[in-house]
Symmetry: C2
Subunit: 251 residues, 2 copies
């Protein structure tokens, strides 16, 4: 089996009214297929959905002022992070590790200043990234007749390991997890004893196809047909990837 991941060139700046599915269909260079997976960096989705905040319009709370002073940050930026945060897990060495309202555990609740249109603008995570993925898949189908899967990604740090990898924050039409635990092959040998976070591996593979900068938010991954769901089944989404606090050993 061969997997391919191809980043689309020439994607223009995304605005609040950009039709991402139309942009994808126009820039894909080749027809999209049902078995393809379209991978979209969340910033493109967030900008298209207007999920941005302007620092000039933020009034920091006393808690934001206090945290900002302790961690050498802009109190308005911290306030935006707190607004996106359900629980602050750690605040240390200038890093705020948050549980977002969606349940993602990540730095700064996914709030990011880079690649914003200007330095006064912060980009948030989509309000409901699984819904965003489903809407994008439906719109792609409407425009092209094909129903590729959609994965929306962000770059998250990890416990224990340096660096960030892209992970799935929204999924439609792809099995987010593949469970091989306990299965045996035709002659009774155990198959891979793993429960594979497929959508996260797809997010990382797509990131590898990108050039050095972020003006390549759109990547098409092919070769995963066996994991792409039928057009009328979006699957459980990236929500299925979240380990709840009660079953998590590291909070």
């Amino acid at each position: 089996m061969t997997l391919t991941a191809r980043a689309l060139d020439g994607v223009p700046e995304i605005a609040a009214d950009t039709d991402l599915a139309l942009l994808l269909a126009e820039r894909a260079g080749a027809p999209l297929h049902d078995g393809d997976v379209v991978v979209v960096a969340h910033k493109a989705v967030s900008k298209a959905e207007g999920r941005v905040r302007r620092l000039g319009e933020v009034e920091p709370s006393p808690r934001a002022v206090e945290l900002a002073a302790a961690h050498d940050k802009d109190p308005r930026h911290v306030q935006v992070v707190l607004d996106e945060t359900a629980e602050l897990l750690r605040a240390a060495r200038g890093v705020l590790i948050c549980v977002t309202h969606h349940g993602f555990v990540c730095a700064n609740a996914g709030v990011d200043a880079s690649n914003a249109a200007d330095s006064d603008t912060l980009i948030l995570l989509p309000l409901d990234p699984d819904a965003s993925a489903r809407a994008l898949r439906a719109r792609l189908r409407e425009l092209t007749g094909a129903a590729p899967a959609v994965v929306i990604t962000d770059s998250f740090g990890r416990a224990w390991r340096h660096g960030q990898t892209d992970v799935a924050i929204g999924v439609a039409g792809l099995a987010p997890l593949v469970d091989w635990r306990g299965r045996t092959d035709s002659v009774g040998r155990e198959l891979r004893a793993t429960w594979i976070a497929l959508a996260d591996e797809v997010a990382g593979a797509a990131d590898l196809a990108r050039d050095k900068d972020s003006r390549q938010p759109l990547v098409i991954v092919s070769g995963l047909d066996r994991h792409v769901l039928p057009a009328d089944d979006d699957g459980p989404g990236a929500a299925a990837l979240l380990r709840g606090a009660s079953e998590d050993l590291f909070r």
Copy 2:
């Protein structure tokens, strides 16, 4: 840019005297290139290096007996895990989360019974996976004249998210991390504000190319030429991916 990952078919059972580089060169189907990345599931490396233990030869310590009773495990298996463990971080719900002697944080110190030759055999992580990767790269160069990068992988669980993803435990000839923090493009816009764990994304991408079972330990990833180091430079290896305990917020 297009990334491709191709799993090699027809790889025979790996024995303690298997020349993995020769096997790779023979099964590659096409000549290897300097810019390729050869991704090898660690079990193939561990078997070739004889990094296995037989349960029948293990004498469990009182601590292993106690942990095994508390977590419904075979005390001999637990003893092997403890032998591979520098620090036991958590023991809960039948899972032992360990820091290995290498510094990896993972379940059961990477000790695995699946895909062993028989049910009495446990497969350990390589003693020094970066050295294994370097040796494999050197031998590939000797055999083929090409010096592709080598990444040795295992499937690790994560904090906060369900499922496992393949990560790099040994690397030679590939930049394990790519640092774009603070860099700006030609017109002064900030590039991707990330420190990318490239080798981990490569490990995950390779896993996606595998079929449903684990008899495809060898995957060739192409399209990453810009990250592959010259033949005489193996780089810092997967050791560079390890976050030390003193800088880790989640232990």
